[in-house]
Symmetry: C2
Subunit: 238 residues, 2 copies
């Protein structure tokens, strides 16, 4: 029988977690396929329903599977979203300020590293979309400067994020896009401080330069604009 072995004290639910992973892989289950029912798996693995559920929920929180009443347990298609969501929770908990710089640096390296490829993949349509986002940014900045106060600068920051996401949206590398998404989600969770008017104007200028380069289909100019975007005088964001 499928007795999980009593290896020196590895927690049962972790063994079950591994067993289920192996089951999925070895039976070549694809997204949309069903796992056996909880009861069946309990019997097959010789564990209680409590333990099985702990393993199931651990797989669900990272987005590998999804369980629904009356339906069963379904394999999800691969995505990094849930992982990054958990990662952000964990960073939030850790309260480690230093992480902010680490993330910023990593973001710079990744965006610059994929800039050339991104440039090649952008269509005229994408560029129009970027133009429209840039206008959103301008508008949000104006509003924010006029009502010169603690008003939550979310719409500017969100447009900023969409600007970057759109630039890299056509790259045929799922990881890149999901990591850039992660950076944005990270910002939304941690960057509460209100940028100054001066900072807003500088940021706007940086993004305009990027857009202009795209308009003129000038790759060299685009790369320079991206470099410029990430050249903080000191601790300038986005």
């Amino acid at each position: 029988m499928g007795e999980t072995q009593k290896t020196p004290h590895k927690k049962l639910y972790l063994q079950v977690y591994d067993d289920i992973c192996k089951y999925i892989a070895s039976n070549n289950l694809k997204p949309g396929d069903h796992l056996p029912t909880e009861m069946e798996m309990c019997q097959k693995l010789g564990v209680s329903r409590t333990i099985l559920r702990e393993a199931i929920k651990s797989l669900e929180i990272t987005g590998v599977i999804r369980s629904r009443p009356g339906i069963g347990i379904i394999i999800q298609s691969f995505s990094t979203d849930r992982f990054f969501s958990c990662l952000i929770d964990s960073m939030y908990i850790s309260g480690d300020d230093h992480l902010e710089d680490d993330v910023e640096q990593m973001r710079k390296v990744i965006e610059l590293g994929f800039s050339a490829q991104a440039f090649d993949t952008l269509s005229q349509e994408d560029i129009s979309k970027i133009e429209s986002i840039l206008n959103d940014m301008k508008h949000a900045a104006e509003v924010q400067i006029r009502s010169k106060s603690k008003i939550f600068g979310l719409s500017f920051a969100e447009a900023d994020a969409r600007f970057h996401q759109t630039i890299f949206s056509k790259i045929p590398n799922k990881l890149v896009l999901s990591i850039i998404n992660f950076f944005w989600a990270y910002d939304r969770k941690f960057k509460i401080k209100q940028p100054s008017s001066r900072h807003l104007r500088i940021t706007l200028d940086k993004h305009e330069k990027i857009y202009n380069a795209l308009m003129e289909h000038d790759k060299k100019m685009f790369m320079e604009a991206m470099e410029y975007h990430y050249s903080y005088d000191y601790k300038e964001k986005s």
Copy 2:
């Protein structure tokens, strides 16, 4: 009482998961600190032990906390290891071949992007360590070429990984190192195919060039060697 609200059908264990995250953050709990006991939290949140445990295990699998019998539930220090471990499990399950290229590309961008910084941080001691690792690689390659067959080239691959890990080991950016660790763990899980003798020799040469540049403290040469290392004629690994 702390009744978790019945917002439209968010699963209870997920609410509890969030509640615990918030509890840790708002009480400013640090690594090593204890969470209240299961029973206490059950009462405070008004949920059953089953639900609470599902949330606890979900937090444990991602490395946020650790629970031990007779002791309690303890906050862990922040680390990305568990996340990447889960991510690899998920990639393994997904069986998506395309991911392999995505990871490879990402690795290239990150390592090259941090090469300059890595060069500046390496001490003579580190360089000696790299030399010793390079010798391990040579030795492993010889063994592998002589016994020209399916023998698992793990020791070569492991030395290869250590080579890269050591280069970036002194960078003051936790994320970089843990992502490079992730790449290596990924390789170990997925790259089963045996490299050819020719490939081994090329790989060795690439790493020798990197080491020579370090020996001579020649940054430009180092950067070129890193570039060369990542210039596949096609689909050449590491």
